[in-house]
């Protein structure tokens, strides 16, 4: 059972990747582009995301003993496969840097104003290294525990916010037609659905009962969609679109309104830990992805350290401040993500073509 994970852990990792990336820039970009129709964007993106799921299944089922880097080489040959792999790794590394920046900025801006961001980053970097050195088993178990905790905290927050919810805040619906929700859906698709592909780094034969993974993934995909949908609806329904679009972290600010049974209040900082768990897992998985795409030997301990240091240093020096980060992420990063999507689509198409050729040869 060494280096084996079960399908539940695998699917929970997908959910964590999808939901955690929504904090900060995910919510910001959807609200900025779709406004009050943000929840429609989430629905459209989720429907479009079915294509990602289907392509994922095709890529994942191909050569079950290979990870994504090996599949690139297997489909496109060594030179082109390596180039595509490195290109995707560069973009994924940037995803990790963004997540680390998001994490440290969120903590320094909301809780630890006087603490230097690098100190916070350092604490998380140690954990990221540790969990990566321990391997996929530890990573997946950690993820399942964190996901369960996050789901409970999410439920508490929704129950606590229910009395504050005002349906009128979600109106008018589609005031300017479908254009704005579609733009929002594109952002949501690129920022919050694309990370599904990161799971390709785990070879299919690393799963216990791999035949069940599709079912679990579909269930957790729906759960992730519901979480994001409820989150957006609740945030806008409680704060109203004007406040939701002016706050840096509306999904955190809305938690300040939680009041359960008139005596449980001011629990936003406890509830917020779900975001911190999510972002921590995101960074950890990015490090895992890059490590295992670069080196096939699973015993490498130095590589995760180096990658984590790059992410840590990058998050400290790449962006001057949050405004620069938001601007860059909103205007430039979608193109980077689109390239990443294109690379995986190439792989998907490559596999389809190869399968068809193989069929012809055998027939």
């Amino acid at each position: 059972m060494k280096n084996k994970i079960n399908c539940l852990q695998f699917a929970s990792m997908m959910s964590m990747l999808l939901v955690a990336s929504f904090l900060g820039i995910g919510m910001f970009s959807v609200i900025k582009s779709a406004g009050v129709d943000s929840y429609i964007s989430i629905v459209i993106a989720a429907i479009a995301g079915i294509f990602i799921m289907l392509s994922f299944f095709v890529i994942y089922d191909y050569e079950p003993n290979l990870n994504v880097a090996e599949k690139f080489k297997s489909i496109f040959g060594k030179p082109l496969g390596t180039i595509l792999n490195y290109l995707s790794l560069a973009i994924i590394l940037f995803m990790g840097i963004s997540a680390m920046f998001n994490l440290t900025t969120f903590i320094t801006s909301q809780f630890l104003k006087s603490t230097p961001p690098y100190l916070i980053g350092l604490c998380f970097a140690f954990l990221v290294i540790l969990v990566n050195i321990k391997g996929i088993e530890t990573l997946s178990r950690t993820c399942l525990v964190l996901f369960t905790l996050c789901a409970i905290l999410f439920l508490i927050s929704i129950i606590g916010l229910f009395p504050e919810f005002d349906m009128a805040n979600l109106k008018p619906c589609l005031e300017y037609g479908l254009k704005r929700p579609l733009v929002g859906a594109v952002y949501n698709f690129l920022f919050n659905l694309l990370p599904i592909y990161l799971l390709l780094v785990i070879p299919k034969n690393s799963l216990v009962k791999p035949e069940k993974y599709r079912k679990y993934m579909c269930i957790f995909y729906i759960i992730s969609f519901l979480i994001k949908f409820v989150l957006v609806v609740t945030t806008i329904g409680v704060l109203g679109i004007h406040l939701a679009s002016i706050y840096q972290y509306p999904e955190y600010m809305v938690l300040k309104r939680i009041k359960i049974f008139t005596f449980i209040d001011r629990i936003e900082n406890v509830i917020t830990i779900q975001w911190l768990f999510g972002l921590f897992f995101n960074i950890s998985f990015v490090v895992y992805y890059i490590t295992h795409s670069l080196k096939q030997s699973h015993k490498s301990k130095l590589l995760p350290v180096i990658i984590t240091i790059i992410i840590f240093v990058g998050s400290n020096y790449l962006f001057k401040n949050n405004t620069a980060f938001n601007d860059f992420t909103y205007s430039k990063v979608p193109y980077m993500r689109a390239i990443l999507f294109f690379i995986y689509i190439l792989l998907f198409v490559g596999i389809l073509i190869k399968k068809r050729c193989n069929k012809k040869v055998t027939s």
């Binding site: 909301q110 006087s114 603490t115 008018p172 004007h242 406040l243």
Partner: protein, 393 residues
Amino acid sequence: MKKIKLLSFLLPLFFITGCFNYRELNELAITSAVGIDKTEDGYKTTIQIINTQKNGADTNSSMEQPKFVTYTSEDKNLQESLRRVILESSRRIYADHIQVLVIGEDLARDGIYDILDLFFRNSELRKQFQVVIARDTTAEDILKVVTPLETLNSKHIDEGLSVDNKYLGVGEVVDFEQLVASYLDSNKEIVLPSVTLKEKDEEGDNIENTESTEPAENVIESTMGVFKDDRLLDFLTEKESIALSFVRGKINNTVLSYECHDNKYVVSEIMNTKTDVSVESEPLKAKIKITGSLNINEVTCDLDLEDLKVVDEIESNLENELKNNINDTINTIRDEYNTDVFGFRDILYKSNPKYYREIADDWYDSVFKNMDIEIDVNFDFVEKGNSLKVIKR
């Protein structure tokens, strides 16, 4: 190798034993309320700080110290003005848990836009504190009064407004976040509750103020202030304030009466009220539907309360009383202030944005003033207390 590993995990424990840059409670001046007044050159800020010293602890005196102290300072902008308080205080000002923000009337009439940003931008400050206007006085004077019953003046204002909102409805509770949301939404107008001073001749800024059965000075809740954009236009009367709260759906319980005979009244408590406002387009018409239950509290006329017809009549008289009150209030606000504090514009925008865009530019010029209003009040009689009949010989 194992020892190195163990050491690398144990070593950080010595460095992470406490918070980075921590602030001890006894080094902070915990602020419970902030008041802002307009001056010629900028702002005068008054901050109310909780006095955490035990009585006579430092001075060996048995004299009772007030439970709070106030500091004032002036500067051209708010942040600098607030920071200058440090010159007077020996502790760092900690304003993250303020309960009340009091805005001076002069400042409110000049426009409150400039004071919103500082409080909104501060990430540590909770935005759920109440905002009130100091009516006919300054925020400084309001925050200096030592109030009876509550040891903290800010608590007195905070609790007082909540109780008023819960049982009378003259003042609506508006927290800072709601105020900013109303300001940001161009389809909404701001309303804020007010407090004022009820005073005798003496001054109430000393501890003796609480040693009398009738304090020399007290802070009392007053009526709602109505705004247009960010400027205070005026204050409503008590009746108008209650009517406004009814239309805005911010009232739960209140007392309503009508004159059944010369100087004789039927008084009733209205409970569990619900308001449903809709705006129909073409022809433009606002429909206000109010429902609730009523208890008869006081009857000084000779009425047969056992007769169902009489009870129905009381019901319909009270409904008409409220209907007329709301109608008068809407007309007064339309004619005198021309500000849509009822939120009709927002409701129309949300229900029919296309039609709204056609008439938006003329909203205050003609549409709001001339739109039809239909008011429907429906109270259900619940009980009449211990007495089945009116007390009479």
